[in-house]
Symmetry: D2
Subunit: 223 residues, 4 copies
């Protein structure tokens, strides 16, 4: 995942990307990734990680982990368990699954110990700075009001993206920046890269597309 | 699961029952269940449901589901997804993963639609009554202070168990009652049955035992 | 608060009913209560309880209490403290401040010990039943989708109100039922009473009215 | 609060510092502050802010505010309301009342608009860095395991204090650093100042002391 932009596809809890359909969606990602040589990461629902990770060679990430490890934590999602199910990384603090500040830190520490790549989602420039201070691998700036809007952050609010890139450079230049919210086309991706990000995080633009594979091919066309 | 008592084994996030070890633990459950003709339910970590459910014939339950369904709910655990991964039921509101009252109701509704058997965990007689009013299949009374104590609720606090059984009979007699906390031996199970429950919910008594299979055989010996 | 219907006015965090304006709004309530002989309860923001309770003779209720008591609970709202500030009761589990099931129970226990009258808010008939099983003084059924809508629950969804009244009678007949959501006129109140409730819980219908005092007088006109 | 160290006294929900006793405790703080010319800030329970702020001339801070403002936020604590009740500042994210990262940011923005001084509590150096990136007036590093221990952070874990001071200098040098946990004597305060902090945050060391006024005098003796 070094030089080329990165596409992170969040399956959310959409019916179109659950169970057997999660495997099918991940295979589309794999096909487009192989064809385009662009890294595409699939983020299925947590109960689907194992079967998706066993069906494809592209990286599979969890959508969330909790801040706890082995122990009396019934119902929690641990870094170790998603790792053993085949995940190579995880989203943390997605706008639909926010965490306490202290939990983000603890989840990052668990993820690092488990060898997971981490993407901390943020909602504005100040929060991006704070997240960068915790040294995740990536931050992903996603203004909540644009998520699922079809109105791409890279065009609707380019300042929040470039501002996040600058803020992260100041705080912790080893952290890479993604952006998300409203992304659905190759033009949106190109605009995101132009603003200094290393790639995008998206969901409905592909998952809810009539032809998800075509949508994926469109996404990578300008990379 | 009709006439004989029921053993529900919660794997929590213990290292001893994660990943491949979850499969191994579930196979112990299966072996003891087949041998004893006692229903034993395995509750592995959520990312482990798929591989455990594919490896054994006994019922596999989730440790938790969230109150949401298909949609923009990144990182949440849905009834539909754990069902499609192979779960036949789920714990809800375990003391280590409490839910809002309104979420317990919504989770129960989702679980029913998905065809999952439901066990709502409770902490005292009043809360057991409230949970019973929501019509789950089971309530499981577990005084938090006894969980993991090795001091069995069926002996340490028999009144809370028999009181829960009476309260449920008054509120909603179709709901069955389990009890948990500190259970580790066949004597504890026998005492629980004696108090009017349909079985037990336990974790460390088996998972942390030197010989979990022997511990399981001991549990069912008086049934 | 025995024989006549009850009006509970939730000040929320509206600017129109904060600080000095909370005192003014509570005095309107007092004036209308004295004039109409209808019990009106004022629920100001928590930091305003003390000065409101010192300014009026009608009962002042808190909008929320937490499930904890005296101790290391920085930032929490205890029954004892709102009581000592002058509150005579409290809302618990309002749809904008939901609690865990076990917390509702613990908050009710603290409130009773502190001598506070309790109103547990609920969102549907099943949850009303569960809340009634916990023995609060009142439950208040408020379908969240109608809150602030101007579309009164007593007309938009009379079945949820009468269904709640029946459910509570079955579970715990000592619990009284209020309803709320969309209530703003005396007709809405009359419809609520007709459905078997003991009164209403409302907010914007009065607080956001051009003339809150006139709105209050209108509310009680048919009682 | 510029040149001299600062003592922030958190009343928690202790019975010893509630209601009329909150006023009494705040008057002790005022007396010691006037005598010593050391700034002492009193943080009573939220329902007590109004009467405490009206009884003393030292600054009164809230123990917590929520991330919301005026509107449909029943039961929440807003910056505007605690300000109007007399608070001059607020703790945010105390270890007993943690917030989501995005809520800390939103609470800070509300507090600034309302003219409140802000102290964000943190649990380790990484979290201190993240908090500093959000530009509060103060961060207060408090290792949770030492809170209430009587084992002062300034002696038990001086590295976490000096590490926090260094981290904040790098990230955002305008942010001032306090430390807390286990502080109870003037020696503990002196050690904290020595490590580069601007003062301390404490609770039980004074509130639970047999003679709180004497404890306060001891605290300031070396300043």
């Amino acid at each position: 995942m070094e030089n080329k932009p990165l596409i992170v596809l969040n399956f959310k809890t959409y019916a179109e990307s659950m169970g057997e359909k999660a495997v099918r969606m991940a295979k589309f990602c794999e096909e487009v990734s192989v064809d385009s040589e662009v890294d595409i990461i699939a983020c299925p629902q947590i109960p689907d990680i194992y079967r998706v990770a066993n069906a494809v060679k592209i990286p599979v990430f969890a959508q969330h982990i909790d801040a706890v490890g082995a122990g009396s934590y019934t119902g929690h999602i641990t870094a170790d368990c998603v790792r053993s199910a085949g995940a190579k990384g995880t989203l943390i603090n997605h706008s639909e699954r926010r965490l306490l500040l202290s939990e983000i830190d603890a989840a990052l520490q668990s993820a690092k110990k488990a060898g997971l790549t981490t993407i901390v989602c943020t909602n504005n420039i100040a929060v991006t700075s704070a997240a960068a201070a915790l040294s995740p691998d990536f931050v992903a700036i996603e203004p909540p009001e644009l998520i699922g809007s079809g109105n791409p952050v890279s065009k609707a609010n380019p300042e929040i993206v470039s501002g996040s890139v600058s803020a992260v450079k100041k705080i912790n230049p080893r952290v890479k920046v993604l952006c998300g919210a409203g992304i659905s086309t190759g033009d949106d991706v190109a605009a995101a890269i132009e603003l200094g990000t290393e790639g995008v995080l998206l969901a409905s633009g592909v998952i809810k597309a009539k032809d998800p594979k075509a949508a994926l091919f469109d996404l990578v066309k300008k990379i």
